[in-house]
């Protein structure tokens, strides 16, 4: 019990750094999950078409430009902008604008009068960018229909009105039965960042404390005390496990707040817990390893930052793994955070537990636990070797 109590006393003395990492995590996770989540409480949100952000700069100021804006404003964001290359470039760079279309002066006249040389529309886009290609294909379909109608004797206004009316004819879209409409809700996106918290706080909260326990004089004093090795280890393991549980409870409380309590009624909740538990044990074993091999606080800080940021980037926590190329994906499969992220996505998208999904979750969480076991075993071997050397 003494060792157990001491663990928490030491933890209290390091509360500054732990609170700091928790605050960093909370800021990162809340900001990113707010920016990336889709509130899919109903199918309508999940079924919304990809919205493109377009600016149409009309230098011609004729009916063609107005009709074009009206047509593409349905389902897209049309941004009003002046022709300012720098501003357009800045927005294109940040993907806040998918396409900038310029209708040059005299364009409509060239469209209607066969004697006037055909003019081209002008555009600014990021070369090869998918959203830009998508808009261009839409624009191409629109203009070929428009020119066909003009050839059939329609006026520009009538042809554009006809095309606008046609927009009501939409294809029926349904969400597949196996997909949860809440697959990208705030809880799922927030939980995707949990490895960052568990790894940073797991490594700090255990590493820094073990550093104190492993200090030569403290260790020597403990070795000659009446407390047996078994009691010491039990106290230490108890402290580590309780600390881990506190971390997990904290995350659950935050998720409950983020989801306004709905998470407790969610069919996915127990599976999220299982996945988190696997990652927690991995992080605790990483903390145990860090505390054993690090010589001082600077080494702990270094290891925490290298491993937490490295594992989170490579595992697809910060940048979604769907974006990874084949080579990166091959390497990511060796990283436990990748399996956490994959499992989290699968659980997020599930509507009910199937045997196939249960099998996937079992193996993927098992893999993370396997990593935890390997790291734990390696640490025990290091400790045993050290004891042999000092004996």
């Amino acid at each position: 019990m003494q060792v157990f109590k001491l663990y928490f006393k030491l933890l209290r003395s390091n509360k500054g750094i732990l609170i700091m990492y928790f605050a960093i995590f909370l800021t990162v996770a809340l900001v990113i999950s707010n920016a990336q989540s889709v509130d899919g409480n109903n199918n309508q949100e999940a079924m919304k078409e990809e919205i493109l952000t377009i600016t149409i700069i009309d230098e011609d100021q004729k009916s063609f430009g107005n009709g074009l804006k009206e047509y593409f404003s349905s389902g897209n964001d049309i941004v009003d902008m002046e022709y300012d290359e720098q501003k357009i470039l800045d927005k294109l760079y940040w993907r806040k604008l998918d396409y900038a279309l310029v209708i040059p002066k005299g364009f409509e006249e060239s469209l209607l009068d066969e004697d006037v040389k055909d003019m081209t529309l002008k555009c600014m886009k990021v070369p090869g960018y998918f959203d830009a290609s998508f808009f261009e294909s839409e624009l191409s379909l629109y203009t070929s229909k428009l020119t066909s109608l003009l050839k059939a004797g329609y006026s520009v206004e009538d042809a554009q009105k006809q095309l606008l009316d046609l927009q009501d004819e939409q294809t029926k879209v349904e969400l597949a039965t196996f997909v949860n409409a809440n697959q990208n809700d705030k809880s799922t996106t927030f939980l995707a960042y949990v490895p960052y918290l568990f790894i940073t706080l797991g490594m700090n909260g255990i590493g820094l404390i073990l550093l104190t326990f492993n200090a030569p004089l403290v260790r020597a004093r403990m070795e000659c005390s009446s407390t047996t090795m078994k009691t010491r280890i039990a106290g230490l393991v108890g402290g580590i496990l309780l600390y881990g549980m506190l971390l997990m409870v904290t995350v659950i409380v935050v998720v409950a707040i983020v989801s306004k309590g709905r998470i407790f009624m969610d069919v996915r909740f127990p599976y999220f817990l299982i996945n988190m538990f696997g990652m927690l044990l991995f992080s605790l074993s990483l903390g145990f390893f860090t505390g054993t091999i690090a010589k001082n606080q600077d080494a702990v800080n270094g290891l925490v930052n290298v491993l937490s940021i490295g594992l989170c980037f490579l595992g697809g926590v910060f940048v979604p793994y769907e974006f990874f190329g084949d080579a990166v994906l091959k390497v990511a499969k060796f990283v436990p955070t990748y399996w956490y992220a994959v499992t989290n996505t699968k659980i997020g998208a599930m509507t009910e537990m199937t045997s196939g999904l249960a099998n996937d979750i079992f193996w993927q969480v098992g893999l993370v636990l396997g990593y935890a076991l390997v790291i734990f075993s390696v640490t025990i071997v290091i400790i045993a070797n050290r004891r042999k050397q000092t004996a």
Binding site: N14, G16, I17, M20, A23, I24, T27, I32, A46, M47, K48, E49, E85, Q86, L89, Y93, W94, R95, T120, L121, K122, C123, P127, G128, Y129, F130, F134, E136, L139, S140, T143, S144, K145, T147, S148, L149, K151, A152, G153, L166, E169, T171, K172, V173, E174, L175, A176, T177, F178, V179, Q297, N301, N305, V306, F313, L314, V319, G325, V328, A349
Partner: protein, 377 residues
């Protein structure tokens, strides 16, 4: 000069200092290079995999789906035909296809996992197919003689030409942003150096500090030589990091390496000054001050877009003042203004802002150091 030499020696012996300044940024850069090396291709167009289940045959539609091209020799869709809905559902679940279309004569239903740019493209195609037929019917109703000519025009006519306006600057990849943020963070990690040197000037923080406080050398002289030594040392390390990022990791920072280097050095100055500020103003043990330093460069880097490249843009919309005073964002914007815009005015604004922040940090640090007296240590 002797003190300057000693300070350099102390810096060289600091393994953790070398780790934070050199190893950590190079390691992160290696990860970024590995990850983002191919990331741009994700956004390049490639055929969209789409499943088709024909409940009632519509060969014209399926053929059109197979044949339509995005550009010459690049089909818009890769079509997979399935016997029944169950097979198609399985393919959708296994992510073999982005979506599948249930064709029932002239009726189409799109089954999706989520609505994204790929499924939007498929939906748009099916919408256009239906709309074209409705359009032909409408024209035929109005003037039956025009119908055939209209249909021929509709499928054969060329669309209006598009001329692309070339963008200024060289770097068009949003992922280079991660390297800008990485260099920004590396500059601000100089605060760890500044912290160490700042504590070595205080008698109650380190033994070196206690020794130096009883030495006859004026405190201001100690401060200046220490600062110059750490600035020299860290500038060399940052130059190595910058050269590695530009030439080894092959990131495009624009043509003017001299200006890129200059902003890196100014960022280093601000980072170091930040470390001195924390060393002098934050009360408490070394561990607490180090934690503050890590929080300083990590939070600043996060706001500058290290973990999420869009962060500065979100802040620009919600709280732009942060982008004007956050050192990491100023550094990122300075790099961006050179590489993307070639805009020297914006570059100068960012560099001067960074310099002003650094000078303010220094003034506050010196003011605090000068006032500190030790009755007893």
């Amino acid at each position: 000069m002797q003190q300057f030499g000693y300070s350099i020696k102390r810096s060289l012996r600091s393994i953790e200092g070398i780790f934070w300044a050199l190893v950590f940024p190079l390691f992160l850069g290696l990860i970024f290079k590995f990850m983002f090396g191919n990331l741009g291709t994700y956004e390049q167009f490639s055929e969209v995999a789409v499943g088709v289940v024909e409940q009632t045959e519509n060969d014209v539609f399926v053929e059109m789906l197979k044949e339509i091209e995005m550009e010459e020799d690049l089909h818009m869709f890769e079509v997979f035909e399935y016997e029944n809905v169950d097979e198609a559902e399985k393919a959708l679940q296994n992510e073999t296809v982005y979506t599948y279309i249930v064709v029932d004569g002239d009726e189409f239903t799109l089954m999706i996992r989520k609505m994204d740019i790929y499924t939007s493209l498929v939906k748009s195609f099916v919408d256009q197919y239906k709309q074209n037929y409705t359009l032909i019917e409408e024209v035929a109703k109005k003037d039956p003689k025009q119908a055939v000519a209209f249909a021929t025009n509709l499928f054969d006519s060329d669309s209006i030409g598009l001329e692309e306006i070339e963008l200024k600057g060289q770097d068009k990849s949003p992922y280079t942003q991660y390297f800008y943020a990485l260099l920004g963070m590396a500059c601000l990690i100089a605060s760890m150096y500044g912290l160490g040197h700042g504590m070595d000037l205080q008698a109650d923080m380190t033994t070196i500090g206690a020794r130096r406080n009883v030495a006859p050398t004026p405190k201001m002289q100690q401060f200046v030589t220490d600062f110059l030594a750490s600035m020299t040392m860290y500038s060399v390390l940052m130059t190595i990091v910058l050269v590695a990022v530009v030439y080894v990791y092959g990131q495009d920072f624009g043509d003017n390496f001299g200006l890129v280097w200059l902003v890196t050095i100014v960022g280093t100055f601000t980072g170091l000054a930040g470390g001195y500020l924390i060393a002098t103003w934050v009360k408490g043990p070394k561990g607490k001050k180090e934690a503050m330093c890590i929080a300083f460069f990590m939070v600043s880097s996060f706001l500058g877009g290290l973990q999420m490249a869009e962060m500065p843009y979100i802040l620009e919309e919600k709280c732009p003042i942060i982008n004007r005073i956050n050192p990491a964002t100023l550094l990122v914007n300075a790099y961006k203004s050179l590489a993307v815009f070639g805009d020297y005015q914006q570059y100068a604004v960012n560099v001067i802002s960074l310099l002003v922040i650094g000078v303010l940090f220094m003034i506050f640090s010196v003011a605090k150091l000068r006032r500190t007296k030790y009755a007893s240590i």
